[in-house]
């Protein structure tokens, strides 16, 4: 899917066909993801526009009929990291390895207990789930969205995010622990134990 390969030579008509039949059907997923990582409709539009214009510019390096969705998500993730974050000058540059090491520590594992109840989660409304998800640091939020909303496999996620599968597993594990902890706080405020 994303191996180094000999570029195709698509005709102009083929290019438009691939763009409209293989790329555009994923635009709502791409936009939803862009919105969930930027929290801003205009930024999401810019990111999606950039992603799709790049996908068209580099269409010769895409193999027709392969995993267009993962290919587009990979372009989006690179645009977000390389340009969007730079342009918007994130106030604090986070060392993600450090963050992951912290969340991988036993100390945090002990902090995160699981007495959240199924009934409490079932009672929650979208806004509460959304606030809990949005409060996760972007790398943790990203793996939850890619896995649970978009249904990507671990292998696809590793390709999209350009990290080893082991990192995907541990990042997901920590992300789920943190999300459960956030949801537990809401459940507590709703009167569940």
């Amino acid at each position: 899917m994303m191996r180094k390969r000999t570029p195709q030579r698509y005709s102009p008509n083929e290019k438009v066909e691939i763009f409209e039949l293989e790329f555009l059907p994923h635009i709502h997923s791409i936009y939803n993801f862009a919105y969930r990582i930027t929290f801003d409709e205009d930024d999401a539009k810019d990111l999606v526009q950039e992603t799709y214009l790049k996908s068209f510019r580099f269409i010769d390096s895409f193999d027709k009929g392969t995993n267009a969705k993962a290919w587009l998500f990979r372009i989006l993730k690179n645009s977000f990291i390389n340009e969007f974050r730079k342009k918007n000058k994130e106030p604090v540059k986070i060392d993600y390895q450090e963050v992951e090491a912290f969340y991988n520590s036993d100390e945090v594992n002990h902090m995160i207990t699981s007495n959240l109840q199924v009934e409490a989660v079932k009672e929650m409304i979208g806004d509460e789930v959304s606030i809990a998800l949005n409060s996760l640091e972007v790398d943790f939020r990203t793996v939850i969205i890619l896995c649970d909303i978009e249904g990507f496999s671990y292998e696809e996620m590793a390709l999209i995010l350009d990290v080893p599968i082991g990192t995907i597993r541990s990042r997901l594990h920590r992300a789920r622990n943190l999300l459960r902890e956030k949801l537990k706080k809401y459940a507590g405020s709703m009167g569940y134990k």
Partner: protein
């Protein structure tokens, strides 16, 4: 008697919950291999801790899938992209930037 023994097992704290959590998540994500799957199905029948964790994780994933508002790309953005792609053929190069 057999039933009482069974219940004793179910109510005992999971002896290796960390490992089970890992396997349960692989199973829910469809990433478990055959050994992990069979471990999961035999163990979870007898372990209340793990059965509860499994149900909770499933309910959280369901909440994420079903309760979050899905933002759809605005129609004008889709039209703009289509227009720019078509316009690119009027230029000498394929540069759509």
């Amino acid at each position: 008697m057999a039933r009482r023994e069974k219940l004793k097992n179910v109510e005992r704290p999971c002896p290796d919950h960390e490992k089970c959590i890992h396997v349960i998540n692989l199973v829910i994500d469809g990433e478990a291999n055959k050994d992990e799957e069979s471990f999961f199905y035999t163990h979870i029948r007898d372990c209340l801790d793990c059965a509860q964790y499994y149900k909770l994780e499933q309910s959280i994933r369901a909440a994420i899938r079903k309760k979050l508002e899905v933002k759809e790309a605005p129609e004008e953005l889709i039209n703009e992209l289509k227009k720019r792609v078509k316009e690119s053929f009027l230029k000498p190069s394929d540069d759509v930037s």
